[in-house]
C-alpha cells in the first residue's frame, strides 16, 4: 500500500508534502482575493455606478487563460509559486465581488436602521451587522473560488514544476507511470471536495442562528454560482 504513494525523487516532496503545497498554492490566493474583494465590493455597494464597470473588468480578467497569464508574469516573478498564485487571486475576484455585493445588499434596511439607532458607527455596523448577515452569500462565493483554484493550480506544472499535485502529471508522462497521473487527478478532486466541505462547516459555525442544513435558501445561489 505504501508503495502506491511513492513518488520519484525529482519531485522533492512526499505525497502529503505535495498535498500541503497544493492547499497553500490554492487557498492563499483566494484569501488575498477576499481581502481585495471586501473593500471593492463595499465601494460598489456605496457607489452604485461603480458596480457595472467593476464587474466588466473582473469578467475580462477572468477570460484571460491561466497559461497565458502565468507566462506573462514569468518575466516579473520568475518560475515560482507566486507566478501561479497571482492569477488565481485575480480569478477569484470574478466570483467574490458579486457574492459579497449581493450578500451586503441583501441586508434589510430596517436592520441597518436598527443598528444605527442603537448607536453603531458605520465601521462597527459593517463588521458586526452587515458582514455576519452576508456571511452565507460570501461563503458560497468562497466555495466556488476555492474549488476552481484547487483545480487550476495543477496548470502551474507547465511553468517550472510549480503545480504541486499537478507536477505528478509530468512525472507520470516522462516515466510512463499512469499511477502518478491517477494520484494527481484523484488527489486534486478529493482535495477540492474536502475544501468545499470545510467551507460548509465554516458557514454553519459562523451563522449559528440559521436553521441547520437550510437547503431551501442555499440551493439556488449554489446553482447560480456554479454557473459562473
Amino acid at each position: 500500500m505504501n508503495e502506491f504513494f511513492d513518488l520519484p525523487s525529482d519531485l522533492q516532496h512526499s505525497y502529503l508534502g505535495l498535498v500541503a503545497l497544493h492547499l497553500r498554492e490554492a487557498l492563499l490566493p483566494v484569501l488575498a482575493g477576499l481581502l481585495v474583494a471586501l473593500p471593492v465590493a463595499q465601494l460598489c455597494v456605496r457607489l452604485r455606478w461603480l458596480y457595472p464597470p467593476v464587474l466588466w473588468v473582473t469578467t475580462v480578467l477572468y477570460a484571460i487563460p491561466s497559461l497565458a497569464f502565468f507566462v506573462i508574469l514569468i518575466d516579473y516573478t520568475g518560475l515560482s509559486e507566486l507566478t501561479v498564485m497571482i492569477p488565481l487571486a485575480v480569478y477569484s475576484l470574478v466570483v467574490l465581488v458579486p457574492a459579497i455585493v449581493d450578500g451586503v445588499r441583501s441586508v434589510p434596511q430596517e436592520t441597518l436602521a436598527a443598528a444605527t439607532a442603537m448607536g453603531f458607527g458605520p465601521v462597527r455596523r459593517y463588521v458586526q451587522v452587515q458582514l455576519p448577515i452576508a456571511a452565507p452569500a460570501i461563503i458560497a462565493g468562497l466555495r466556488v473560488a476555492s474549488v476552481s483554484s484547487v483545480s487550476l493550480v495543477s496548470v502551474g506544472m507547465l511553468i517550472g514544476n510549480a503545480g504541486a499535485l499537478g507536477n505528478l502529471l509530468n512525472s507520470g508522462m516522462i516515466y510512463n507511470q499512469p499511477r502518478l497521473v491517477w494520484l494527481s487527478v484523484i488527489g486534486t478532486a478529493v482535495l477540492a471536495i474536502l475544501v468545499d466541505i470545510a467551507l460548509i462547516v465554516l458557514r454553519e459555525l459562523v451563522t449559528p442562528w440559521m436553521p441547520r442544513g437550510s437547503r431551501r435558501t442555499t440551493r439556488p445561489t449554489a446553482l447560480k454560482d456554479a454557473a459562473r
Binding site: 484571460i64 497559461l67 506573462i72 518575466d75 496548470v155 497521473v181 486534486t188 454557473a227
Partner: protein, 222 residues
C-alpha cells in the same frame, strides 16, 4: 516594457505568419477545436437544461453535477485521458466537453426557472401549446442568461484548449508550450498574447450575439 518588446519581436517576424506553425493556421485550429467542443456541449446541455428548467424537475441532480464537475481538475483529466487513450482527438475533446456541459446545463436551467411566471401563465391562458410557451415566451426571456452560460463555457474551452498543447494538441497553446521547452520567451509571450486576444474576442462575439438576438424589451428590463 520588456514583455512589449518580446510581443513586438514575435509579431514582426514574418516567419511566424506562414506555414504549418504559422499564426493563421494555429488561430484557425484553435477556433475549430473551440467550436467543436462548444457545439457538442451545447447539443447535450441546451435541450436538457431547457426541458428540466421548463418542467422544474431535477434541480438537485443538476446542483450535484455542477459541484462534481467543478471539483474535476480539467488539466489532470486531459493528461489522464491522453495516458489511457493515446494520441488523438478524443483524449482532448472529452475533457473539453465535460468541462463545458455543466455551465451550459446549469445556467440554462436557472434561466428557465427565473422567467417571470406571469407571462407564462398569460401565454397558457391565451391557448398557446406547451412548445409555444417554451420557445416563444420562456426562451426569449431566458436568452440573456443562457448566453452567459454559453459564454462561460466558451471561455473555459478556449483556456483549456491552450493547455491541451501539452498533450501534443495543436492550436495557440503550441507557441507557449514549445516556447517554454525551447527557452524562446519571445514565442511564449507571443502565444500568450494571441490566446488572451482569442479569449477577449470570444467575449466580444457573445456580446454581439446578445445585442442581435435578445429582444429589445427584454434588454430594457434587465
Amino acid at each position: 516594457m520588456n514583455v512589449l518588446t518580446y510581443i513586438d519581436a514575435f509579431f514582426s517576424d514574418s516567419a511566424h505568419w506562414q506555414g504549418y506553425d504559422g499564426i493563421p493556421t494555429r488561430v484557425v485550429e484553435h477556433i475549430q477545436y473551440t467550436l467543436m467542443a462548444l457545439g457538442i456541449a451545447a447539443v447535450v446541455g441546451l435541450p436538457t437544461g431547457l426541458v428540466t428548467g421548463h418542467t422544474g424537475r431535477g434541480g438537485n441532480t443538476l446542483a450535484l453535477i455542477a459541484t462534481a464537475a467543478r471539483a474535476l481538475p480539467s488539466f489532470g483529466l486531459m493528461v489522464l485521458m491522453f495516458v489511457l487513450l493515446g494520441l488523438g482527438m478524443a483524449p482532448v475533446m472529452i475533457p473539453l466537453v465535460v468541462l463545458a456541459i455543466p455551465p451550459i446545463l446549469v445556467t440554462t436551467y436557472e434561466a428557465m426557472r427565473a422567467v417571470d411566471p406571469a407571462p407564462v401563465d398569460a401565454a397558457r391562458g391565451m391557448g398557446m401549446a406547451e412548445a409555444g410557451v417554451l420557445f416563444r415566451v420562456e426562451l426569449p426571456v431566458a436568452l440573456p442568461l443562457i448566453l452567459s452560460g454559453l459564454r462561460t463555457a466558451a471561455i473555459q474551452i478556449v483556456s483549456t484548449a491552450t493547455i491541451a498543447a501539452y498533450v501534443s494538441f495543436g492550436g495557440l497553446g503550441r507557441y507557449i508550450i514549445d516556447g517554454l521547452y525551447q527557452r524562446n520567451y519571445e514565442k511564449v509571450v507571443g502565444g500568450a498574447t494571441l490566446v488572451a486576444a482569442m479569449a477577449l474576442a470570444t467575449l466580444a462575439v457573445f456580446w454581439a450575439v446578445g445585442r442581435l438576438t435578445v429582444s429589445r424589451g427584454v434588454r430594457r428590463g434587465a
